[in-house]
Amino acid sequence: MNLFFTRRGKKENTEPLKAAWEDQITSQSPKTCPACGQASPADQWHKRGQVCPKCGYHAPIGAYYRLSFLLDPGSFQELDRDLLPADPLDFPGYPQKLSDLEQSTGMMEAAVSALGSIEGHRAVFAVLDSSFLMGSMGTAVGEKITRAAETAQRQRLPLIIFAASGGARMQEGILSLMQMAKTAAAIQRFQSARGLYISCLTHPTTGGVTASFASLGDVMLSEPGALIGFAGPRVIEQTIHEKLPAGFQRAEYLLEHGFLDQVVPREQWRSVLGQILSLHEKGGR
């Protein structure tokens, strides 16, 4: 099953992608909010991009779904779709796990990269998807992010990355760790060439992704309530033997501690990113 058949190099309308994703989740209607516990009809959730109509809780969403409401209709042009996962450790059960995930999510990896535009401003996009092995970064995800930065540099376009990740992908071992250095170096190189990189952190962004490309944005943004950190809360609690306060490592907490420029509600991404892109527009950078 491949929900998102695309022809490479062709611009396309993202509406079918959005519809396919919504089809997958409408079975859960009406949907109970894990934050406030109240149930609302699925179409109400859809209308707000999977944000709880009652309390504003931002549910995790898939990469294609995000792109479908982020980009100008008809501007989506996927990059490196045929970049598939590898198994450098010959890790027991990993290939099977990958093919099961492809069946259940319609994704072949945890990242989607694309050319597209927001309010007419062109940019290179990469979006991580937490439904695929927690959005973890193995060699394919690292390669995709790196190529996205290289494409942005070559085409003199801004780079916008939405992170959502549990960190480095354990199943690919040390080479996953090395993707941190590889992506950070690619971002650094892109920025030295005066490229604009906007890093958008969504729930959850942790581990090796936080400690590499996701923390290096010229502009750092996040969705409300997103968990953002290097170590996960459970590991910290085990280390310091105390309970962490409510709101620890959440987007609002990072904003207060100086690590974010702004927290952006889901419905405002297009206008906020459009504004930043417009403010940096000068020869397309």
Binding site: I174, L177, K182, I236, F259
Partner: protein
Amino acid sequence: MSVYTPEQKVKLARYPGRPGTADYIQNLFTDFFEQRGDRQCRDDSSILGGVARFHGRPVTVIGHRKGRTMEEKLRFNFGMPGPEGYRKAQRLMRQAEKFGRPIITFIDTPGAYPGRDAEERGQGEAIAQCLALMSSLTVPVVAVVIGEGGSGGALALGVANRVLMLENAVYSVLSPEGFASILWKDASRSGEACSVMKLTAQDLRSSGVVQAVLKEPEGGAHTDPQAVYRTVDAALRRELAALGRVNKRSLARQRYQLFRSMGQDLHPARGAAV
């Protein structure tokens, strides 16, 4: 070469009697001048660094410090740096760049500290900035994995032109205990994790993550530290001499390419670019 299993190597790499960063600095360098503090909030003593002479020539040397006695271990936080440690390292690297000094790093940490203060002050950001900065330096950088290379906290000092590794050192995406508990929900299967993680110097040499393996005495580095110092000294001399013949731009480019290529052969570039 010795015949230790990966699990035995993890034990050797962590053995408290094994020479650490402070020992290498004392035995391989002269005129060491320690530089402390991140100039923002504190000094993190789990990272030891400063300027010293290596065979007469000023270099910047930076490494993780674990400590040997319990008192030292507590003071150096068991070699687990917080963001201040990584920001101190960045400060020292920027100075090395400014004054054209080669940089030598010694890697020996279970990982970056997973604590509340560390998170509050941006552990992830501090490591990310280390990676980005190291990738762009125009001075020679040589890293030596001397003990335990644990996760992003180790890599933060590891973006070098040449990464050397002692024969019984280990370097991995996470500790074997962490790996087992994430993948199998069972930290007690760490022995099994050691054998699938490909974390030994020999494994990493074949995957291209390290460029040279340095021989240890029979029984491990702690059995004859002087022999290990001679080996590491000779290797560093050789690497610095070779890198000394490369111009600044090529040094940055070569280092970039080294890390750019990691895992790349698993994903061959497509013919038609968009």
